[in-house]
Symmetry: C2
Subunit: 722 residues, 2 copies
């Protein structure tokens, strides 16, 4: 066990669901939930695929879970040695956040099962499991392995027309209902013991059954090689999956593991933050980086990361603003090719955003609030189920959260500013910024009798308050988008012909004038005693403590937001909103203003989103008050280690990992405690170490150079990194 | 009993509450609920005052109920002869819709109580009751009469600092909590029998106790004279009340009744619609006219009528758009001085409307959705209580129902067109229209990149759909307001200096240009297959039958509207909306369009408001399909006779009379069946009698002339009226 190992010993259903998230193995292509091998679908096991979506009937579109090719179950004398069927003598499971190895060790008495497995960071389509059976009694051991089709789906089923193939490489192939995407899972096994081999094909899958007699003290060991391909990857996914399994079996488990570890080592070298002074914090930060790195789309050059990563189908596997605001910073500073992939996904899905804007009667690009493949909007009009009536509740995330287009423009501009590389702007990024700005031109509410331009009927980051006017964050983001659009001419001043051609191609002549006209007229927020009003009328809402609001709940899973929710009619907010604006635009206001807003909004924030604590921590550091950031940092960094995130919204399961917190932990450490920022194309640090941290050291890439930031209590430096 | 008498024999609490409404006696100054004399506050008796409001703590402001000066209770040998205390042998109560006489006849065995009472239409502050006790056994009869302070309040108490005075004229005086308005009730009695008289002053009021011995067959008779004054009426309300009682006692019950009846006869002469062919319809229409006439503010020249009349404190006793759109037509055509009073109330409350607009950040006049004295907004942000959580629900009637300002401008213009009298426009009406138009200039959402002017985030007549954009009714009403403002220059073409002076005084120069500019650019509704879309996106809502929507209710008193309600997310609407627009602007569209919209919207309308059926009936008549209007007419005309209106919205009692239906019944008869309308300053009729009606005849005043409209199945005529 390395110092980065996290273990758990619970095995009831609730704990297993949580462990499924915190012990997740993933490689950007797929995520294997951290659930023991013998689990059926009631325990929420899954191999969730990135970028493969399906809709069943009129239910929510969500990512597809592949047939489970690392399934395994042990019998002793015909009796299941399986959690759920037999109370174990002891059980432990866990993950090594250093190399992404999941392990479990369960003693059932006659047989103890020990295994370790990983989703290969070296081979995109590969999953491996090495299972070891220690026998304490004489008898017959049966090892069922194979490909389970007993799939946990939230809004499924998604797979139909199953085909099966026995042989050295077992195969289960199926197609999705909506788009007829073929999904193929294959499996090979390399056992170190002699056994009678038979095959069983059932409703629940295709299995290989190995039977043998054992004596006390016998240890049976088998390596299982799973592979998953879809027709989005290759023309013949079944053949590809079988071929990969066979090849990896030939290569052997140890070699596969070595290659996997080497890949992780390279990732760590590029991105790992070394934190000294507090072991819990170091582990949490490491775990956060593990989770975010494990789901980065390294295999694709245009793919983004779902809000719950690859930990399942929660939030429809969709891409939210989390990608640009919370995942993007770590990647752009450590592995810019991944940041590029996230942004290319937005560039390629521009047609979907144009379509969405048009559907609402606007021009330009209105990006999906929950974006799936092609930029199609995955967010429905009903995202909450009322706990009292069990009826879906109309929510307005899809219609009104217009800041999403601004967030994307913000990340595109940041990419340019941090990397110094304008190629992404040339390759579609400029077009996206211009179309987002055009959407905001079109969405503006002007007045016949006054200059101010309002953005009415929006939702800001704080989703509890729906349909507000002039949300400060949103308006600021819109102004930034318009300014960024106007800045493009300067960025491309040496390529004026190209840029003018782009404007012509986009028929942007009049809009360019409108940008100049509107940009300076966007409504400014009300400021009262230094406190920025979150939106028009916010200060007039009931101002009462969070506990009072909580005490009004009539049901523990009630939704807090909207006109019916306990928070919606008060000043209690779900997450950082004004503070998020101050974190993203720290130069806008003097420190006193940031301090006044921190003091006002923090007690009024439920932090009911993983997007919240990070923003408060960043602004606290900006204020030179890292002690205020410490608890928020710990909460952010350990959320997936502890598995303490929110699991329900109304009657809808929303559990999973929290990549935004994972990214937020890096942001607090690097941008907050070390105070990293770009100034005129150069990185700077403004360290504010909390007393718990004695040293912080991490690699970055800025302006194309590999650098290392090191901060101690006494000094800080940005060096070349070797 | 006249042919206009309505009787009931129920006396349980629920029936009594309903009877309190349908047997209401009123005279515009006050309403006395139709509940028997001995009722304590748990039976919802009340003398509700018009235009006197009070707020207790932070509860809803509502009209004040006066101490009950017609209270009476009978004992026989010390035993209460009272409903609730003793099961009567027989009971009947009722009202004569011809002269507004309430009567009750209850036989308790030893004593039978028979009474008749009225709220004087001749003496504004007077109430009279004549009570007759028929004794069947020998024993002691006690008659408690006096002034009860056991007042039914919904959001009270409102009266404090009670003062009492015994004597010939009993007096109870109190002051309201908020504005310290003195309310005084006095009472005299004229008994025709000898009795021992004592006084009792208790928490529940001040009483005169008459005791006497009776023999079987004895009949005791007493006339009770009550009077109510407030310090809004006179400087010394207590003295005034006592003086009136004494004077009326001196005059005697019979004379008071004669004067009262004469006043009612004059009202009938001015307004009564004679309907032949269907007695139920005739009675219903008569009842409707009784109810609306009984609450008309004849005593005041600037007062309007609450949405539930004077039947209690429901709807905060506030003035809604009902006044201009549903009460106004009957009055302007029959008793224009009352129509003038309704509109003067709006003229005088302009400052409140200016203040409300300013509070929302707009210019011009945004009239209160629920207007109380001074035009103060009575509507709160929370108008519904959720039946599941018992928490108030944020509703947007106050903020978003902007058509109210247009409705007022509509009535002001109608007043001019029907009466030919522009003096009301000169006396403030023009100013109101201009300020309403200015509000709509200020509320317009223009666009940087297109000409259309949107009115976003509004609520139309159909309150189930909150916060919609471009509600067709609202946009049409706004255009009408702007056109009416522009028309003022023509109306006052011979007084150009005066009108220009008004514009200068209002600093209207730029706004006048903006009216021209905006008026023609207001977004037009989408029309699909001839059907006008109620608001942007309405057609995209779930389209399912009313019964399906009803079947989704989880609680019988659930509120249907808003994002949580069963209707809000579907095409089911509360009340006429597009159809209301077509009823008010029948010339806008060809008959095919009206027909298509009628066919589309009627099945999708819950008619959950008394403002609905009338609009459907009017448009059906316009289509020459009076048979479609018949059921709607009967429902409208009999709603208060049958007492079948909605009594609850969520957990809030909303019962009472339905003046809008009362007015609607007249509108259907006169404007629908007879097809009365003004054309170039002249009345015209376009009769469409349903088969049930053989003859319809009614007086009107148009262009200052008294006329009579008579329509039969064969002919119709407008004659001079004598």
């Amino acid at each position: 066990m390395s110092k980065w190992t996290l273990c758990g010993s619970g095995y009831d259903r609730e704990q297993t669901v949580t462990d499924g998230n915190r012990f997740l193995c993933a490689n950007g292509y797929m995520g294997l939930r951290g659930v023991f091998e013998e689990a059926d679908s009631t325990w929420f096991p899954a191999i969730t695929l990135s970028g493969v979506y399906d809709q069943y009937q009129d239910r929510w579109r969500e990512p597809v879970n592949a047939p489970h090719c690392l399934y395994a179950r042990v019998l002793f004398n015909g009796r299941a040695m399986a959690i759920g069927a037999l109370e174990p003598v002891s059980h432990r499971a866990g993950i090594d956040y250093g190399d992404g190895l999941y392990h479990r060790d369960t003693d059932f008495g006659p047989v103890a099962i020990r295994s370790e497995r990983f989703v290969s960071m070296a081979e995109t389509h590969l999953l491996c499991d090495r299972i070891e059976l220690r026998c304490a009694e004489a008898g017959e051991v049966t090892l069922y392995t194979g490909i389970s089709t007993d799939i946990w789906d939230i809004n499924g089923p998604h797979l139909f027309d199953f085909g099966y193939q026995q042989g050295e490489a077992l195969l289960v192939r199926a197609v999705t209902g909506e788009k007829r995407i073929t999904v193929a899972s294959a499996q090979c096994i390399q056992a170190d013991f002699a056994a009678e081999e038979t095959f069983e094909q059932q409703d629940a899958g295709l299995f290989r059954v190995l039977r043998c007699r054992v004596r006390p003290g016998d240890v049976l060991c088998a390596a299982i090689f799973g592979a998953v391909y879809t027709s989005q990857d290759v023309a013949h996914p079944a053949e590809a999956a079988q071929a990969l399994c066979r090849a990896m079996k030939a290569r052997g488990f140890a070699d596969c593991l070595t290659a996997h570890r080497a890949a992780w080592a390279e990732i760590s070298r590029c991105s790992e933050v070394h934190l000294e002074g507090d072991d819990d914090a170091a582990l949490g930060l490491h775990a956060s980086q593990y989770h975010l790195n494990s789901i980065a789309p390294r295999h694709a050059d245009s793919l983004s990361i779902p809000a719950r990563g690859l930990s399942g189908q929660t939030y429809k596997g969709a891409i939210f603003w989390d990608s640009e605001i919370f995942f993007f910073p770590m990647f752009v500073y450590t592995q810019p090719e991944i940041a590029r992939s996230l942004l290319r996904y937005r560039i390629e899905t521009l047609p979907g955003a144009l379509k969405k804007a048009a559907a609402y009667g606007f021009r330009g690009a209105f990006y999906a609030w929950e974006s799936q493949e092609g930029g199609e909007e995955g967010c429905t009009n009903f995202n909450v189920v009322d706990v009292f009536t069990h009826r879906p509740v109309r929510t307005y995330f899809r219609d009104k959260q217009i800041h999403i287009s601004g967030d994307i423009a913000y990340a595109l501009r940041s990419y340019y500013e941090i990397t110094g590389d304008r190629s992404l702007l040339e390759a579609g990024g400029a077009r996206v910024i211009l179309e987002c700005a055009r959407f905001f031109i079109s969405r503006a509410c002007c007045h016949a009798d006054r200059a101010a331009v309002d953005y009415a009927d929006v939702i800001g980051p704080d989703e509890y308050h729906e349909r507000v006017t002039n949300n400060a964050f949103t308006n600021r983001m819109i102004r930034h988008t318009m300014e960024s659009a106007l800045l493009l001419r300067e960025i491309f001043s040496d390529r004026a012909d190209w840029f003018d051609g782009l404007l012509r191609e986009l028929d942007y002549g009049r809009d360019w004038q409108l940008l100049h006209d509107l940009c300076g007229r966007i409504a400014q927020p009300v400021v009262r005693n230094g406190v920025i009003e979150q939106f028009d009328g916010y200060f007039a809402l009931e101002d009462c403590p969070l506990d009072t609001v909580r005490s009004r709940l009539c049901h523990p899973r009630e939704y807090w937001g909207g006109d019916h929710g306990v928070a919606g009619v008060t000043q209690i907010i779900k997450q950082a909103d004004v503070i998020a604006m101050l974190a993203l635009f720290p130069e806008d206001f003097p420190l006193e203003t940031i301090a006044a807003n921190w003091a006002y909004y923090e007690p009024r924030t439920e932090h009911g989103s993983s997007l919240s604590a990070c923003m408060y921590a960043l602004t606290a550091c900006r204020l030179g008050r890292p002690e205020l950031a410490w608890d928020l940092f710990m909460r952010t960094a350990t959320i997936d280690m502890k598995g303490c995130g929110k699991e329900w919204a109304g009657e809808i399961y929303i559990g999973g990992t929290h990549p935004a917190s994972n990214g937020g932990a890096w942001m607090i450490a690097a941008l907050g405690f070390a105070g990293l920022r770009m100034k005129n194309g150069q990185p700077e640090i403004h360290p504010h170490l909390p007393e718990q941290i004695t040293r912080l050291s991490f690699p970055i890439v800025a302006g194309g150079r590999r650098l290392r930031v090191t901060v101690t209590r006494d000094w800080g430096v940005i060096d070349s990194d070797f």
